[in-house]
Amino acid sequence: MKKTPLLVILVILLILPLVVKDVNFQHVMLMTLMFAGLGEAWNIITGFAGQTSFGHAAFFGIGAYTSTVLFYKFNVSPWVGMILGALFAGTVAFLVSYPCFRLKGHYFAVATLAVAEITKQLFVSWDYVEGATGISIPVVSDSFWAMQFHRSKIPYVLIAYGLFVFVLFVTLAIERNKMGYYLKAIRESHEAAEALGINTARYKLLAMVISSMLTALFGTVYAQYILYIDPFMVFGLDVSMKIVLLTVLGGLGNVYGPIIGASILIPLSEYTRTLLGGTGKGIDLMIYGILIVVVVLFEPRGILGLLRKRSRGRLNYGKSTA
């Protein structure tokens, strides 16, 4: 893959929020960068390895809750919380992967959904983390240590950008490494990959753990940005589905996919919300929903499918894993 277009995109993504002074635009950029990063992380397990996860909200939520609880209860810096959250999410991914990876195709997808829903229910009824009420993160004055910036959104945008670049780097490293080829071999044919001597269990597990850890990092940033979390926000099916949605829309299993998907879907979602969300009647989500349908109907092969014609093999995913 040529590096130039990617570098151009990265430079644009960095300069845009710095140049445009509109606060609302900066907010949209921040969300776009965050979800693009989440999409990249999800792409590792689903796009590369072909294991559809509908439960990445579990890891996102664990990341958000770990740093928040540590800061709220023990005054630990969210930066430390972020790393611990990632480790914690990786551990959870490691533990749930064993039972989940025994299942294939849709059965696996439903299992990941089940894991996320169970996690949500547990947090809802867990008093130590304030249950369904959620946690308001104590507001302190602007400080890097506390990852709180109230005067401007730019620091948050830069953090999200940094994480996004990091996740992109990891994804590219995996794709170019033999691991990337192994994962794609597993996606195309589990049996053939095994016959070739690939330790499929090990590589799927590795992909899941890496993907979950990267996902958790964004959970912390999100919590610090919104300064309030509850289980429905961070563990909800909506979060999992948004990640699925934008990646598939952009192009599954491709590094550009999540960037393109997030750049379309997130502004769509955020702007409909700011323009029409005030009515409290759900008009914004109504329009957002119908726009998703329209986009899918117009480009059922994903945006990247429109941009370039590749052999069907690359996009023919999902059917063969059943």
Partner: protein, 286 residues
């Protein structure tokens, strides 16, 4: 002991309604390999149909049942015609995204039209009536809901197995191309199956509207549980969905009672993970 009997009965009754919702989902899933995220929202629409017929015309839910089923069938048909048909040949997850968008749309459209408030079908022929069987109390609305759901599940299963059109559905599920070569109008099969899926969920919604509140999100949890039930039973397997539905109903009722009702859905999902360890393709999958 009588407590356990009560829980088993309650769980089995609600479970049979879950079954019918899941049967509707598994029909489409088995035929077209499409996960319909809007399935629960079809149900919500049928519940609102029942509610409005009750509120405006004083119709009993049992009287409005055919109309509610028809409304859900029409929505299923429209969904197929306007959305699903165009993404049938798209790669894996695209159709799912379309139905997810559709689900968001339907749910928020309902909220836009009818507000997020809970509404109740206050009085019906059945409401408040109870049966005592030994020392187990059975609410008549629940009993009728369960019997209606079981009856409907049987009817669907018989239809698929015995009738000529049902066999056309089976053939299309196995291979669209070959079914077409044999003279099956697969377009008609798809349309009909989506409508039938709507009827299943419409009937289930009607039967539940006398028991549960009606609001825009009221179908959401059923849709999600139906995914788990379909997978637990084995994709595309009607009887699998039936038994799995009852199993989930029992698990959430009994587990919810002993561990706390806040965990009842978590228990249902946990059951799925546990059972699939032994039957990785569902109870009746192969």
């Amino acid at each position: 002991m009588s407590m356990l009997a009560q829980l088993v009965v309650t769980g089995a009754l609600i479970g049979s309604v879950y079954s019918l919702v899941a049967v509707g989902l598994t029909l489409v899933w088995g035929l077209m390999d499409i996960l319909n995220f809007a399935h629960g929202d079809f149900m919500m629409i049928s519940m609102y149909t029942v509610f409005w017929l009750y509120a405006l015309l004083k119709w009993d839910p049992l009287v409005s049942l055919p109309i509610a089923a028809l409304v859900a069938a029409m929505i299923g048909l429209l969904t197929y015609k306007l959305v699903i048909k165009r993404v049938l040949n798209a790669p894996g997850l695209m159709a799912l995204l379309a139905t997810f968008g559709l689900s968001l749309f339907i749910r928020n459209f309902a909220q836009f039209l009818w507000s997020p408030n809970y509404r109740f079908v206050g009085e019906s022929i059945l409401s408040g009536k109870k049966l005592m069987i030994f020392d187990v109390i059975v609410g008549l609305p629940q009993l009728v809901a369960a019997l209606g759901s079981i009856g409907m599940t049987f009817a669907v299963a018989l239809f698929i197995k015995k009738t000529k059109f049902g066999k056309a559905i089976q053939a299309t599920a196995q291979s669209r191309e070959i079914a077409e070569l044999m003279g099956v109008d697969t377009e008609k099969v798809y349309m009909f199956t989506f409508a039938l899926s709507g009827i299943c969920v419409g009937v289930a919604g009607t039967l539940l509207s006398g028991i549960f509140p009606v609001y825009p999100e009221s179908g959401a949890m059923y849709g999600l549980l139906a995914f788990v039930i379909v997978a637990l039973g084995g994709f595309g397997n009607i009887w699998g969905a039936f038994y799995a539905g009852i199993m989930i109903g029992l698990a959430e009722t009994i587990g919810g009672f002993y561990l706390g009702t806040q965990f009842k859905y978590a228990i249902a999902f946990l059951i799925y993970l546990l059972v699939l360890q032994f039957r990785p393709k569902g109870l009746f999958g192969w």
